[in-house]
């Protein structure tokens, strides 16, 4: 028998879920609201929630002062590039771990994950020096490469999990049908793993888009993405909350919209294998 849920119980659950959801969303909402206030209203005490004079002045100031388009373009190149590069490396890696595991495969997976436990600042110095040597400081390609490395363990892990769900017999059938390794991965494995690959792409794009440590430390002007664009509005001389909020809103808007449209895919990807 299905568990009976009373209407009252349902109402309580729904209210509770809404509260949690709004709590999580509140900082973003507050940022968006603040971006439409004047600087004075933005720091007024007590804070004003909805009833203020809406203005788009902050946006025009931000647009005048900085070249939003260039930051946006850099973000797209860095997040997109690192994601695509990462996927290209991770698919063969995850294939080998899922379908031809060795005795040490589990250890390699754990080792890869362990690199994520190291605080990024721990390797800042060596990487910074390397970047100086290689002339990659403030270079989009250098940053793309670093972000790819940073997220590679997660991409490989996710793909490995998806690939494990694919019956090995189908790949064997492809081998019997005359497919070499390249054809097997290209025509059989990849199309079958599309939902998994898509959600990995999405998640990784979001992670790379939001990454702030490396993007702030390894760029100055040329390669600076939107994270640096936000940071440029938190000045030590005084905080311009409204402008900072406008910059933040502009930085998160693209990813927020993308996330909204692909949420179904994302959720499916993240719970893939768990529900079956």
């Amino acid at each position: 028998m299905a568990r009976a849920v009373t209407t009252q119980r349902k109402a309580i659950n729904t209210t509770f879920a809404w509260i949690i959801g709004l709590l999580i969303f509140f900082p973003i909402l507050w940022t968006i609201l603040t971006s439409f206030k004047t600087e004075a209203q933005a720091i007024s005490d007590p804070p004003i929630f909805l009833f203020f004079d809406w203005t788009t002045e902050n946006y025009s100031t931000v647009m005048e002062r900085s070249n939003y388009g260039r930051f946006l373009w850099n973000s797209i190149i860095i997040a997109g590039g690192s994601t695509i590069l990462g996927i290209m490396i991770a698919i063969p890696a995850a294939w080998s771990m899922a379908f031809v595991p060795s005795r040490r495969t589990k250890d390699i997976l754990l080792w890869m994950l362990s690199t994520k436990m190291l605080p990024a600042v721990g390797v800042l110095y060596p990487i910074y020096l390397l970047f100086i040597q290689l002339g990659l400081l403030d270079n989009v390609y250098g940053l793309t490469f670093i972000l790819m490395l940073i997220n590679l363990p997660i991409i490989v892990w996710m793909l490995y999990t998806y690939f494990r769900e694919i019956p090995a017999e189908i790949l064997e059938a492809a081998r019997m049908d005359g497919a070499g390794l390249k054809s097997e991965i290209l025509y059989v494995l990849t199309p079958m793993a599309i939902p998994g690959i898509a959600s990995t792409l999405l998640l990784n794009f979001i992670l790379a888009w939001n990454e702030a440590f490396w993007t702030l430390n390894l760029t100055a002007a040329q390669a600076a993405p939107l994270t640096a664009f936000i940071a440029s509005y938190s000045s030590p001389e005084g905080l311009f909350y409204a402008k900072l909020s406008a910059a933040s809103t502009m930085a998160i808007a693209p990813i927020l919209i993308m996330g909204w449209f692909s949420q179904k895919q994302l959720v499916r990807g993240l719970t893939f294998g768990a529900v079956k």
């Binding site: 081998r175 019997m176 005359g178």
Partner: protein, 334 residues
């Protein structure tokens, strides 16, 4: 085309040797069935031939060419899997076309071959469907279609009918046999079902723990099982194997009598027992007889129907020309 020889082939997984050194020759055009209980290494053997597993030692030759180190794609064999292993994201047409696409065959010939395979396998109406929209039997036909269009040196079947229901299984069995008659291509077929083995094979290879117990035609195996294992494995219902004094009377450690070689009487006979369960099939009756003092239970097969009830006293007499004798090692004595 389609001659396969295995020479001193072994396979180990880690420290466990699943196939001790094994020799086997499969002739061109033969229908060979590997049969044995589960875990006997029959699927492993097939996968070694396919190239899906590497041999630990020994070599495999296909048409007199050493294929031991060749990848599956280069061996020119086609395989039908138990789970069908169709490509779920491709239509039936694309599934069947896949091996030809891999071989670089031009689209026009691909099309002609797909049409031919589809009409031979009654799949013409389903060519644009995805495997998920097909029934089990249809999926298995697609898998066979995919194998046919390759024009392989040999077909490998890995328990292809186990996922089908009983009625479909009999139908598909006939279809595969007809296919063999038509194509005359070597076929190697793995099954644990000895009925499939008996009905389909030109040659049966009985395996136990990776060791070939006997190779022979179905009737050779039935009439002259080389040892106790084959005697017990081939034939349905199973052969009655009797140890002890009764066997010694025949100068053997064990004697075997097939259920169909026992005659039944309610009044007199060599061995006396009581009726346990009687299975009435209409054409035949299987009677399970207890308390013979020879074995726990003996099975008798009677053609037609017979009126027996649970607990009835019954007499059994073996056909003296049909008694199989085995020595203490379980080997056949003549």
């Amino acid at each position: 085309m389609g001659q396969i020889s295995l020479n001193q082939v072994t396979k180990s997984f880690g420290d466990v040797q699943v196939i001790p050194p094994l020799d086997l020759d499969i002739n061109e055009g033969e229908f060979v069935v590997f049969v044995g209980p589960s875990g006997c290494g029959k699927s492993t053997l097939l996968r070694l031939i396919a190239g899906l597993e590497d041999t630990t030692s020994g070599n495999i030759a296909i048409d007199d060419k050493d294929a031991t180190a060749l990848p599956p794609a280069k061996r020119g064999l086609a395989m039908v899997f138990q789970s069908y292993a169709l490509y779920p994201h491709m239509s039936v047409r694309k599934n069947i076309a896949f091996p030809m696409k891999m071989a670089g065959i031009d689209e026009a010939s691909q099309k002609a071959k797909i049409e031919a395979a589809a009409s031979a396998l009654n799949l013409t109406d389903y060519l644009d469907r995805k495997p998920g929209q097909l029934s089990g039997g249809q999926r298995q036909r697609v898998a066979i279609g995919r194998a046919i269009v390759r024009e392989p040196a040999a077909f490998l079947f890995d328990e292809p009918l186990s996922n089908l229901d009983a009625a479909l299984r009999v139908g598909m069995r006939l279809e595969i046999m007809e296919l063999h008659e038509k194509l005359k291509t070597t076929m190697i077929y793995v099954t644990h079902d000895q009925v499939e083995a008996m009905t389909m094979a030109d040659k049966i290879v009985v395996l136990q723990a990776g060791v070939i117990e006997q190779v022979g035609s179905p009737l050779e195996l039935y009439h002259k099982p080389r040892n106790r294992f084959v005697a017990g494995f081939i034939g349905s219902p199973k052969m009655n194997l009797i140890d002890g004094p009764e066997a010694q009377k025949h100068g053997a450690a064990t004697i075997g009598v097939r259920p169909e070689h026992l005659s039944v009487s309610k009044t007199e006979g060599l061995w006396e027992g009581t009726v346990g369960v009687a299975e009435h099939l209409g054409s035949d009756t299987f009677i399970h007889v207890h308390n013979t003092g020879l074995v726990d239970m003996m099975t008798v097969r009677i053609t037609g129907d017979i009126e027996v009830r649970h607990g009835d006293k019954i007499y059994l007499t073996p056909d003296s020309t049909q008694i199989h004798k085995f020595d203490a090692q379980g080997l056949r004595q003549e």
